[in-house]
């Protein structure tokens, strides 16, 4: 059975290779090849999953050792896989949601002449993400980690002829690279501390080292997670990443990429458990991002960017939960899975709306679409109910658990975190209701596009609606299914461990509080966007709104400090190199042997003779010295 693990990666990797190297003759079948191979990977995952269920909870981990990758004295990095319950959960999410997004893309990208390449990149994305979650050591994880970065670079910049897309892609890769510094240093620290960076040995040895070392490793891993999972302060790439085709957004936000950071932290639980200071930083990052994303999500009129803010915020929930330690690991992953369903559904729904509206993204130019796109409306609506935590739907269960866990952290910290998560839930209810109302309800505010085409909203083809329906099912039922009899908890506990914490209030109280903030959030949104007509042009808004529209000014900060500052630095360095370094070195040489004088006279055309004379001089010198020696 364990020999099947490599197949998980091999199928999409083969797809990527074939589609990207195959050339035009595969144009007609390319999307099918890509989809079938993604589905094949899912089937392999399902087979392994069934096999895993048949075994006892303690011996479910499968290992496959392929070969020794970098055998250097004292350093061992292998290409070896490990499939346990945590990896399995990700494998099913990645391949399952990934396959649905493939199917959706067949319709969505139908008119794009580079569709084959698009599917090649999608397959590459899946393969990289799968390597990331089934690697059995940090260095191989790093390969998947950067592979995801590459695939996202290619996909965000898929419409490369648009300068904005190319810039967004570059930005995503660069910001992620900053995070990669963290991963590199973490691996190097593990190597110098434990002599290895394979999961098993590292986690076993965490008890033998100092808390300081673990804290350092933990913080570096967090830096890496911030990059991939778009957490403050490395979140700035996520909004721009909307430049990619919509299925890419669904893939990045739901099944791959941004979930990687959460995986990294939960996987490294043993390190974080021994480093409370690092955990504290993790929860702070999670809490800040949770609010940051939610606030940004409230202000955006671009439907995809509003959803992007929402993703940031929801991942903030997961990071926060992961930072709580064993109290939160399971719920971080559970929310990750349910979020995978509804966020993929929401993005595909948004793509379906855009598809019917001449690629318009401004929600102020939507309105009243529910009559024209019934399937999109219903599936998007279910995703909406799930994300705000409507009772009985997926998000209700998973988010509620995180809020409870936050309180259960105990002490003042618990109260603060609990309140932040509740506040986040209220804002979530607000901005998602806003999206829903602006898009599907109210008056038509449609406007012709730049070329003067009137929009004719229509429902999308089956290849697009079927994946949306499937995801809607997941959005509705997954949470309940996982929570019934604590299924998900029992499934993951052997890997992540679990701790109930010290809840200061009862679970029922937390749920009630959650319901109250939910109603408040929805009510405010309705008062602002449901009761009154939505202006087709955005009002000026308060200072906070304007800042939030600009992603709370982080880009402006980056631009002034990093971009401008960097440009000045490199330009002045170019000048320094040309005049100072070159000049000083030549000058020093001149004082010793007239080198610069020769250099200056080069333009006169005597260059060759100088060189020859110098070389001749060297020859004479050699001969003379040898002769002297002989005599």
């Amino acid at each position: 059975m364990e020999n099947l693990i490599a197949l998980l990666v091999a199928a999409p990797l083969l797809g990527a290779a074939v589609l990207l190297c195959g050339g035009r003759r595969l144009d007609r079948a390319g999307h099918w090849i890509g989809t079938v191979l993604a589905a094949a990977s899912f089937v392999v995952g399902a087979v392994l999953f069934t096999d895993m269920l048949g075994k006892g909870a303690e011996d479910r981990t499968l290992r496959q050792h392929l070969y020794s990758w970098i055998p250097v004295e004292g350093f061992q990095a292998d290409v070896a896989f490990q499939l346990d319950q945590l990896s399995m959960t990700f494998v099913l999410l990645i391949t399952g949601v990934g396959t649905l997004i493939h199917i959706y893309s067949i319709g969505y990208m139908e008119h794009d002449e580079r569709r084959r390449r698009f599917f090649g990149y999608l397959n590459l994305f899946l393969a990289a993400m799968l390597i990331l979650v089934i690697a059995d050591n940090y260095l191989l994880l790093y390969v998947g980690w950067e592979g995801v970065g590459l695939a996202s670079y290619l996909l965000i910049g898929f419409w490369q002829h648009k300068p904005s897309a190319a810039t967004a892609a570059k930005k995503a890769f660069l910001v992620n690279r900053v995070g990669d510094i963290g991963l590199s240093i973490a691996i190097m620290l593990m190597f110098t501390t434990f002599g290895t960076f394979a999961f098993g040995p590292v986690f076993e040895a965490t008890g033998d080292t100092s808390e300081g070392k673990l804290t350092a490793i933990g913080l570096m891993l967090l830096l890496a997670a911030c990059g991939k999972s778009a957490q403050v302060p490395l979140q700035s790439w996520l909004g721009d990443a909307m430049e990619g085709p919509t299925p890419v957004s669904a893939l990045i936000h739901a099944a791959t990429m941004v979930t990687a950071g959460v995986y990294l932290i939960v996987r490294s639980g043993a390190v974080f458990n021994g480093a409370p200071d690092a955990q504290l930083v993790v929860v702070v990052v999670g809490a800040v991002t949770l609010l940051f994303g939610a606030i940004v999500g409230c202000a955006k009129d671009d439907i995809k960017k509003a959803l992007a803010g929402s993703t940031m915020s929801q991942i903030g929930y997961m990071i926060l939960a992961a930072g709580l330690g064993p109290i939160g690991y399971v719920f971080a992953i559970m929310h990750l899975v349910t979020h995978g369903f509804f966020k993929a559904g929401l993005f595909l729904g948004a793509g379906s709306v855009m598809h019917g509206m001449n690629d318009e993204v401004d929600m102020r130019r939507y309105g009243g679409l529910r009559k024209f796109m019934p399937v999109t409306f219903v599936t998007f609506g279910l995703g909406y109910l799930a994300i705000i935590g409507f009772p009985g739907l997926s998000g209700f269960f998973s988010k509620d658990m995180i809020i409870e866990a936050a309180f259960a952290k105990g002490g003042t910290e618990g109260w603060i975190l609990g309140s932040v998560t509740l506040l986040g839930a209220a804002i979530t209810a607000f901005y998602m209701t806003r999206v829903m109302l602006m898009t599907f309800f109210g008056e038509k505010r449609w406007q012709p596009d730049a070329e003067g085409h009137e929009p004719h909203p229509h429902e999308s083809p089956k290849s697009m609606t079927i994946p949306m329906i499937v995801l809607a099912f997941g959005s509705v039922f997954a949470g309940g299914f996982f929570s019934l009899g604590d299924r998900f908890l029992h499934w993951l506990e052997p890997v992540t461990g679990h701790d109930h914490g010290h809840a200061p209030v009862s679970a029922a109280t937390v749920t009630a509080a959650t319901m109250v903030v939910l109603v408040i959030g929805v009510a405010i949104a309705w008062a602002m966007y449901g009761r009154r007509p939505v202006p087709a042009v955005a009002p000026r808004g308060s200072l906070l709104t304007r800042a939030a529209r600009r992603d709370l000014l982080q880009d402006d900060f980056n631009h002034v400090v990093l971009v401008r500052g960097g440009e000045h630095l490199t330009r002045s360095l170019v000048y320094v190199d040309h005049t100072l370094v070159d000049g000083v070195v030549n000058g020093t040489a001149a004082s010793m042997g007239g080198l610069s004088g020769r250099l200056r006279k080069l333009q006169n055309g005597y260059a060759r003779s100088y060189a020859v004379s110098m070389f001749g001089g060297a020859a004479v010198l050699i001969a003379a010295t040898l002769l002297m020696r002989a005599v």
């Binding site: 690279r177 590199s184 501390t193 250099l599």
Partner: protein, 523 residues
Amino acid sequence: MSFPLLTATAALPAIGAIATAAVPAARRTAAKWLALAVSLATLVLAGIVFARFEPGGDRYQLTESHAWIKDFGVRYELGVDGIGVALLALTALLIPFVILAGWHDADVLETNSSRWRPTQGFFALILMVEAMVILSFVATDVFLFYILFEAMLIPMYFLIGGFGDRAHSGSDENAAAQRSYAAVKFLLYNLAGGLIMLAAVIGLYVVAGSFSLSEIAEARANGSLDMATSTERWLFLGFFFAFAVKAPLWPLHTWLPNAMGEATTPVAVLITAVVDKVGTFAMLRFCLQLFPEASKWATPVILVLALISIVYGALLAVGQRDIKRLIAYASISHFGFIVLGIFAMTSQGQSGATLYMVNHGLSTAALMLVAGFLITRRGSRLIADYGGVQKVAPVLAGTFLVGGLATLSLPGLAPFVSEFLVLVGAFSAYPVVGIIATVGIVLAALYVLVLYQRTMTGPVREGIGGMPDLKVRELAVALPLIALLIFLGVFPQPLTEVVNPAVQHTMHDVQKKDPQPEVEAAK
């Protein structure tokens, strides 16, 4: 006596060079094919050397030794170790691509001069460089090495000065002047380094009474040759200076952007991917082996210079407006990594540095040669003259991207393996140094992706419209290099296998042991 395989591997391209030069003026296409055939035959010989080399065997294998200048104990002494064999293989591998990529580089000179034979000369010079570089990787006599180290400047000088890049923004005269400046700057810098080395070589002979690497190293190891600390340091500095010019290390790097910018791209590849490697190779072989104590004494300063090279080279690459100069500065940054790995004096660092030499050769060749195909099409080296190439020439853009990704050390491609080893090796000995070096990871992504974005993406610019995609000859250059980058990224074992034992010898020479992991050290 066994067949002198190493001599044959070096002699073949040398003889081939003479034969190529002798091809009649009218038969220049034949000269090209002859040069290509010779380079391929050399590759076969190098392959045999690689295959015959036993990783677990003696330190130096396939040895040859003949008296040469008896009076001074100069011997023609050859032998190859794991580091030399890796670089020898790299050299033999790259030359056919260099020749193939430069297939038409000399054509333009044919039209206006009938007396000298530029095509024949161009390819003969390339083969001559190959012969000298190969011999320098296997020379185990210090004097023999020195002669080659200097002699290879001559063909390189003519390749840079005589066959410049035609894609020049200035007038023809201006271009000729800049080319000439670049060639002479290259020559003078390297000659200056060489002269100082010469003094050190003679000094070494005075002290040791021999030029034989193995004899001196042995005498040093068993204590029969005792050098005064100051003598050793001076001699070390003499050698190191020459190698640091060639490598090149900050602040002695300024000749490289000129030389790589003005030379045609295949020659630029020859400079940075092949000839410069002799510098870093020689640091490992001569500096560390002959002067272990002085090497350790100088380590702090050298590490700082390496760090400056890494960061400074990368920042300057970001600021370049000329594609070729950008790649040149990127190379300076990469040479910083190589030197860092060598002087970290850990197994991972030195294995990493050796792999880095090979991988940097492959990645720079891929990026630079494809950049050359691009530049030839548009007739400009300025980044600003490009835009939207991927729309009209997707294969060219794709191969360029892979070359770029290799340059930024993407995991899965060969350079990642070596860069990570260097980082880990440096970090385990000097944590702060390792951390600063990781900045290079981000900066490399910056200069590569900015270059790609400005040239390949966006709307199709004027002058790019009808650009043809890669042709068969060009694909024959780009695709095998990419395949190798992927193969060695996924499965570097064939290289690590030969390199590891050699690195252990060097570690033994400098009497350094790897730092123990903290957890084990505590037990």
